[in-house]
């Protein structure tokens, strides 16, 4: 038992269950980082709820010593909606995979995001169905050969963040399983955002889709392969001597090569602003794809607008103010009634 007066540590967030992921799975790193961030959030442990669907990633709640619900395939956001809508005091985290969240569960993700209910969603994107042994997923690239696509997949992949922005997301971010500090920062940011915060976590599945994200996982290649978003900073990437930037003109992103010392803003490079009201800006970032562009990492968008749970709670509070707390007697006697006397 944890002493609730002392400070919690990451250990306090580890449950007693044996972890059942394959050796080398990216999920381990995510788990460790989540456990590290939780104690910092200033929330009593008993107020955390982790909710998941089905998949390797969805076993996550079992390993967190918080309240947890491992539900059914694809529906975690709906369960989480019920939890948060009825108990806005809880800190609700959804863990889902690219299959769980975007295949069978795409619709719930869509509607959760558009309602902007105040929860955090961690989408583990390994571009494959791990738990069912390696079929392609909605984020898998065209041509991927798997057991279910021996001749190569023919479905165009979904980009989770473009999808989320299309659904009206108020907070989207992307991070990398093995980059602890960045991952932790994204977790903190997601937590502090009022509304649905979606983090796409690029996750390696060494068994069924090894090295899918190696370009950005690897610290060396990352310099050119990733665009690290920093609020208020120009959209720059590349090494010192090969700096490049992103220009967004007429709605079309392009790469601008910068001379040494050249002022990026003067060269037309856009400056990152997470709070840009129009989703068009963040969507333009989400449309940047390898290999033509670097892959943006960080917070794409963080704008504030009313959350579903707060509005719902507000309607209840307003109703009580306006009509008084409900009286069952009044309800049953409302409208036309008549009395039958003893005969």
């Amino acid at each position: 038992m944890t002493d609730h007066f002392g400070k919690l540590t990451s250990k306090d967030f580890a449950s007693d269950q044996d972890i059942r992921w394959c050796p080398g799975c990216g999920d381990y790193s995510v788990l460790a980082n989540v456990q590290r961030v939780m104690p910092e959030l200033g929330i009593p442990r008993e107020n955390f709820v982790f909710v998941s669907g089905i998949g390797c990633s969805s076993r996550f709640p079992y390993y967190m010593n918080t309240y947890g619900f491992h539900t059914i395939h694809g529906r975690a956001p709906a369960f989480a909606t019920g939890i948060k809508a009825s108990r806005p005091d809880l800190s609700v985290w959804v863990v889902t995979g690219d299959g769980d969240g975007l295949s069978i569960g795409g619709n719930h993700l869509l509607h959760t995001i558009r309602r902007n209910i105040d929860i955090q969603i961690l989408l583990f994107n390994n571009r494959v169905y791990g738990l069912t042994k390696g079929q392609y997923s909605p984020t898998s690239p065209i041509g991927m050969r798997t057991q279910s696509t021996p001749d190569g997949s023919i479905d165009h992949p979904i980009d989770p963040l473009a999808f989320a922005l299309g659904a009206g997301a108020t907070f989207v971010a992307r991070t990398i399983d093995v980059d602890g500090p960045h991952l932790q920062q994204m977790l903190r940011r997601a937590h502090s955002h009022p509304g649905t915060a979606l983090i796409e976590i690029l996750q390696n599945c060494p068994v069924y889709n090894d090295n899918e994200w190696i370009e950005v996982e690897d610290r060396k290649s990352r310099i050119n392969a990733a665009l690290v978003l920093e609020d208020g900073e120009p959209l720059l990437f590349g090494s010192e001597d090969q700096r490049r930037g992103i220009r967004l003109h007429d709605g079309i992103p392009t790469v601008v090569e910068l001379q040494k010392g050249e002022d990026p803003i003067a060269a037309g490079v856009a400056v990152h602003n997470e709070r840009t009201q129009t989703p068009a800006y963040a969507f333009a970032l989400a449309s940047l794809k390898r290999p033509e562009f670097p892959l943006p990492i960080g917070v794409f968008r963080a704008v504030e607008t009313a959350t579903y749970d707060a509005l719902l709670q507000g309607q209840v509070a307003d109703a009580i103010v306006k009509r008084g707390a409900g009286s069952l007697y009044d309800l049953l006697h409302s409208g036309d009634t008549w009395t039958v006397g003893p005969s």
Binding site: N47, F69, G82, A319, G324, L332, H333
Partner: protein, 619 residues
């Protein structure tokens, strides 16, 4: 009878036991409103009554067509009334389509009141009549042909309202006439009009209502008016409720009585949507409604809310109930309290969404992968819907289980006078959430109920994980142990079976044993009881029971079944309860099945009862 005060009716008055009237017209003619107002007046007049509204399937079918006909039937009496009656004694038809759609239902020799102005060539054609049907009907019915449109316009000719508005009042002319015919009080309707309209429109409606009444007094078309004496009714405060309103209020009341917030997750679907609508109006009870993106989300959110510690419920109808089954399986595994209300409608598939069936019983019991037992209750009448919901919530929290309530489209939309319960007499189960961290085990069981503790987020030291994978006893950890799995499956089944101790023994209507027992369930109560009682009045040896509790069954059910030679099970499906009784008790129960989208007629039940009783009993 204030409406008539000061005037002595100049015409004959006859006393009758009861009567069934059906108001019919185009969807735009205001038949539902007319019926409702007549019902209110009748309730105040002190009769027993039952009603049945009948909406067209289309939102706005073309005016004057059969598809657009709307109807409202009311049956009232000085004796007990349990159904809206098989055949109306009086049909009020506002146009030829309404006449055509309904005339075959009218009791032979019954009264048929028509708007004679509506019998134009065009409207006859729209209704699909090759020629004016009235001449041939005059032989078979007491035809009362009133130039309703014209009379109505005349009354209003000096008012500054449009012809359209004027014509839309004519239902109140007819209503006034019917008030005269059956000596109903006018004030409640006048009062309602005053609250609802003002200015010329108020004036118009009041005028035509009174003009209709006056027309009755003077017209030679109606030489007699009728008095239906007050019925012996249990004292109390009454109101009309439809089944759907009663369900909604049951939901709100559960929260109020158990002192808990309530969460309702729903996706609109006919005929369940009105429950969502009604509950949504009562946020000041701490009740939250969530219109989800689909039925799966609706139930998932409800289960989430239950995990979070509020009373939770999800409402739907047939196809939506199917979609909820996977999540319901999780609720069984997670052992969380949840009420699922399925308002059955005619299927299969989309079927006839506005029509009536009771064919989701086996779905409720078996619609999930693997054995996942779940209690099932079915209300017997509109007002009973209220108590059924309360009972379902009580079971859900006491036994930590999802509970299914099976209403149907008939109960949903029909209304009955309902004695408002004394709130003090309603049960107020105290909900306790586990708090002691030292002794906490997520799947430890109450030795009596076998319920596991309801331990909710926010409680320090009770952090735990649940889910749909097989669970170890007591700890709830994931377990693939074969022995454990079998025990958990048996424990869950046993838990549901134990609910039987909370079910009162079922009471037989009629002799305790004998030749024939009729066994019904849920919303066919009125028709079955009426038929069986009528048969007994005629000296037939027949009894009946009506099951509210379908899983588990009342403990005395088996003994009762064994006391009769024959068992007849009338159902609005192809034989569901009858299968359960046969397999459970090995009794040779016989099905009587109707899948026409309509309720049972008393006469058809009666006919089958008589037939069975006259058959040689086979060994």
């Amino acid at each position: 009878m204030n409406a008539m005060s000061g005037k002595v009716p100049a015409k004959a008055v006859r006393q009758i036991e009861g009567v069934a009237i059906r108001f019919t017209g185009d969807s735009g003619d205001g038949m539902q409103l007319t019926g409702t107002k007549f019902t209110e007046a009748t309730a105040l007049a002190g009769n027993e009554l039952a009603t049945l509204p009948d909406y067209p399937a289309e939102i706005r079918a073309p005016a004057g067509t059969l598809a657009g006909v709307s109807g409202f039937q009311i049956h009232f009496s000085s004796k007990s009334v349990r159904t809206p009656a098989d055949h109306p004694d009086v049909l009020v038809a506002f146009n030829p389509a309404a006449l055509r759609a309904n005339i075959d239902d009218v009791r032979p020799g019954g009264m048929v009141i028509v708007n004679s102005n509506s019998f134009t060539d065009k409207s006859l054609k729209r209704a699909g009549y090759a020629e004016d049907p009235r001449p041939s009907l005059r032989d078979r019915y007491a035809m009362v042909e009133i130039p309703l449109t014209r009379l109505n316009r005349e009354v209003l000719k000096d008012l500054d309202i449009s012809m359209r508005d004027a014509d839309r009042c004519k239902n109140f002319f007819a209503l006034g006439l019917m008030y005269w015919l059956y000596h109903r009080p006018m004030e409640p309707t006048e009062r309602w009009l005053e609250n609802r309209f003002k200015g010329d429109l108020l004036e118009a409606n009041l005028r035509v209502l009174r003009a209709g009444h006056a027309f009755g007094e003077t017209t030679e078309l109606l030489p007699v008016s009728y008095i239906v004496p007050k019925a012996k009714i249990q004292p109390g405060v009454y109101r009309n409720v439809t089944g759907n309103t009663a369900l909604a209020w049951g939901i709100v009341a559960a929260g109020a009585l158990m002192q808990k917030d309530v969460f309702l997750g729903a996706y609109p679907i006919t005929p369940a949507s009105d429950v969502l609508h009604e509950v949504a109006r009562h946020r000041h009870f701490g009740v939250k409604t969530f219109q989800a993106e689909d039925e799966i989300s609706a139930i998932s959110a409800a289960i989430g809310a239950s995990f979070a510690g509020v009373l939770s419920v999800t409402t739907t109808s047939g196809p939506g109930f199917v979609l909820k089954q996977e999540a319901l399986g999780l609720a069984v595994m997670a052992e969380l309290p949840l009420v699922v209300i399925d308002i059955q409608r005619a299927g299969p598939s989309t079927g006839m969404p506005t029509k009536i069936e009771q064919a989701d019983l086996l779905l409720a019991l078996y619609g999930r992968n693997s054995d996942s037992p779940m209690p099932v209750i079915a209300p017997l009448s509109p007002g009973d819907c209220f108590y059924t919901v309360l009972e379902a919530f009580e079971w859900a929290v006491k036994y930590m289980t999802p509970v299914v309530v099976l209403s149907n489209g008939h109960l949903a939309n029909s209304s009955e006078p309902w004695r408002i319960p004394d709130i003090e007499t309603l049960s107020r189960p105290r909900i306790t959430h586990w708090t002691d961290a030292k002794t906490f085990q997520p799947y430890a069981r109450n030795p009596e109920t076998l319920a596991r503790p309801w331990a909710i987020p926010g409680t320090p030291g009770l952090e735990h994980r649940i889910g749909g994978l097989a669970k170890e006893q007591t700890t709830g950890n994931v377990s693939y142990d074969p022995e454990n799995n079998e025990q958990m499956i048996r424990l869950r089944a046993e838990k549901v079976a134990r609910i039987a101790v909370d079910i009162p023994p079922i009471e037989i209507d009629g002799p305790e044993s004998g030749e024939l027992l009729v066994v019904g369930w849920g919303g066919t109560f009125g028709a079955i009881t009426s038929a069986v009682e009528a048969a007994r009045v005629d000296g037939k040896p027949v009894s009946s029971i009506q099951l509210r509790h379908l899983n588990p069954f009342p403990t005395n059910l088996e003994q009762i079944l064994r006391r009769f030679d024959k068992i007849l099970v009338p159902e609005l499906n192809q034989g569901q309860l009858v299968r359960l009784l046969r397999s459970e008790f090995l009794v040779p129960a016989i099905g009587m099945n109707k899948v026409r989208g309509q309720p049972f007629l008393i006469e058809e039940l009666r006919a089958r009862i008589d037939e069975l009783l006259s058959e040689e009993t086979s060994p």
